[in-house]
Symmetry: C2
Subunit: 430 residues, 2 copies
Amino acid sequence: MSSGTVPPPPHADRPRVVVIGGGFGGLTLAKALRRAPVDVTLVDRRNHHVFQPLLYQVATAGLSPADIASPIRWILRRQRNAQVLLAEARGIDVAERRVHLDIGELHYDVLVVASGATHAYFGRDEWKERAPGLKTLDDALAMRRRVLLAFERAERTTDRGAQSRQLTFVVVGGGPTGVELAGALAEIARHALSREFKAIDPGSARIVLCEGGPRLLPTFPEPLGQYAEHALRELGVEVRTGTVVTGIDEDGVTLGEVRIDTETVLWAAGVSASSLGRAMQVPVDRVGRVLVEPDLTVPGHPEVYVIGDLAAFTHQDGRPLPGVAQVAIQQAGVAAANIVRSLRGLPRRPFRYRDPGNMATIGRAHAVADFGRLQVRGWPAWLLWLLIHVIYLTGFRNRLVVLVQWSFAYFTYQRSIRLITGEDLPSRRS
Amino acid sequence: MSSGTVPPPPHADRPRVVVIGGGFGGLTLAKALRRAPVDVTLVDRRNHHVFQPLLYQVATAGLSPADIASPIRWILRRQRNAQVLLAEARGIDVAERRVHLDIGELHYDVLVVASGATHAYFGRDEWKERAPGLKTLDDALAMRRRVLLAFERAERTTDRGAQSRQLTFVVVGGGPTGVELAGALAEIARHALSREFKAIDPGSARIVLCEGGPRLLPTFPEPLGQYAEHALRELGVEVRTGTVVTGIDEDGVTLGEVRIDTETVLWAAGVSASSLGRAMQVPVDRVGRVLVEPDLTVPGHPEVYVIGDLAAFTHQDGRPLPGVAQVAIQQAGVAAANIVRSLRGLPRRPFRYRDPGNMATIGRAHAVADFGRLQVRGWPAWLLWLLIHVIYLTGFRNRLVVLVQWSFAYFTYQRSIRLITGEDLPSRRS
């Protein structure tokens, strides 16, 4: 298609800033430019921003998709210099300053690539179908469907072997997402479903959490990782650290010498940066992250910024910053300021990350929070987690609805969003 | 598979009542038997009960699926004599008293078939793909996706012809669902999206409602149908009564001599009963509904009941009762009572429908309500509609969340559930 199919920006005489990605980085950057003398075009292949830290709640039937997602258009509706385009960026020509979209070419004066990362299967892409990951709403709905169907399939049979295979869940990856998924699965099995089946006892479900490294939550201080392991074991989760997955097939998982019969494997490990990093033909690291300059631009292209999970920012302690929302949000602020400074002929400023701390929850009343010197665990950390996550959720409605849902879930142990949608019936074996 | 795969009921010595379908009829019947000396097995191919009168709200981004649906297991969790089976009923052998499920055979002593009806395409099944109907949550999500993508596609192009085709919506069928869909579409275009696009004006969208008969809401008194037409025209909907759809293809709809260019056709016409009616080899009417006896049993089989949309009950004025929730709910009560009376050796009682009235909404402040001698219209009818629908929603949580959503939507004109899920990208033409 020709470039004429892409609509022109609202003020064609201003510099055009093209932002690829409506995640935490891209959206924060677009908002930060609301008073700048530029036209902002935000491109995303989805129409909504997702509050990724709560995706596991959708996957485990605690929240509805709309509770943690808002249309990008709606978020930017009052910003006159911003235009939103539902389109897929397929390539970038940094020499010609063009983005190749599925609907044509988009010229830019300044480009911000914030297209993030996804999960990776350590080169075993054939595992993807058997062990879904958790990056998008569709991922979360597919995971919810699998988990709920496993209990239904167990109830549909009288074969004890099939029942115990259906009631076995393996979570791969001991980072925050894996810990949160395993904890939520344990609570579903022990509480939410406990009285609803006749042929099976959901409470007998086996939940296995595998982590290749020596302990859970490797990015947290060791005592918090130990606390998480303890709290998960209290919930009945089988924690296997130092355990690498060597095989996944339709009947189970192989962990070296150990074989676990299961049809439900949830993937919470591995990182692979968006392919747009490599498409720019600039230096990238092992997982495809772009090695950015201290001012977040790409070497040799001061008009191209990379922020968030796609950026490998190594100028603090030599290690790239973690792939968390706070890094993307702070980088967006600095990149926006640098865009404005460049337009005014001022020098760009280097980025410096101020770590506000990390948190992870384990079930309905346990959490860990790491604020450097201060470490919090147990239910005070959980309350803190709740507060911070509700505050950060985009938009008034969502906050209120999420609070209602959570209060209800907390006092009743119920998970009310237990809907199996997507296909009519469990098509595979009963 | 063998019959051994279907789990036995909780009390194998009691008569086994098998209920097919977890809609208003099947669920009400199962609950009505909670103290009866029987085992109830409720079979549904979905794990949730849907509050169908509000499906159009999910299709038009006003409510989330979980707001109008609850897991059938959760609804029956306290009922000790009830078992829920996620399975598809594929056939019924009334001579052998067996239901053929996808996972095996299920013997019954008493059978209640409440598998409902779906939309029909008047023999033009090739229209199905182009003009989705609205019976399930998946239908509603697919419809929501189509409607939202149409606006996005219009924004993605600069071709005026393509834009106006994308901004044209045709709703087929002038019953309550068609009226509700057309009204909600008009409000989305005029209010919810009004400021969010740059290349198009969503308010210029053309919404056409086609009805084959001479007026809208044919099951309502004529003045209420006229009021609905008037209210829709005020919202900017183009109402075409006496208009039969003669063709649907990927570029538009043909209405006899008239051609409308559109890619978004929503189907709210035609009824086809569940195929289980015909599968029983008992007398059915033109659309496949089973001609039931006055006591709701099948001729010659006093142990088989048919209730709800699948039943053609003609013993009041000769015409079958309408396919509404109230008929199914009242029939469930009488069928449950007749099951218990039969077990006690008492004669079964005939069913008699007491019409509590009919309602339909048109947008955010108009409705019509028909209570026989009393007819209400305008916003008093709308308030009444709101009250009744919130009261009837299953479960405390849903009611509260729905009220929060609606209050928010009412005062802000927003539709906050505008998420496009299901596939990554608009795959067809831009």
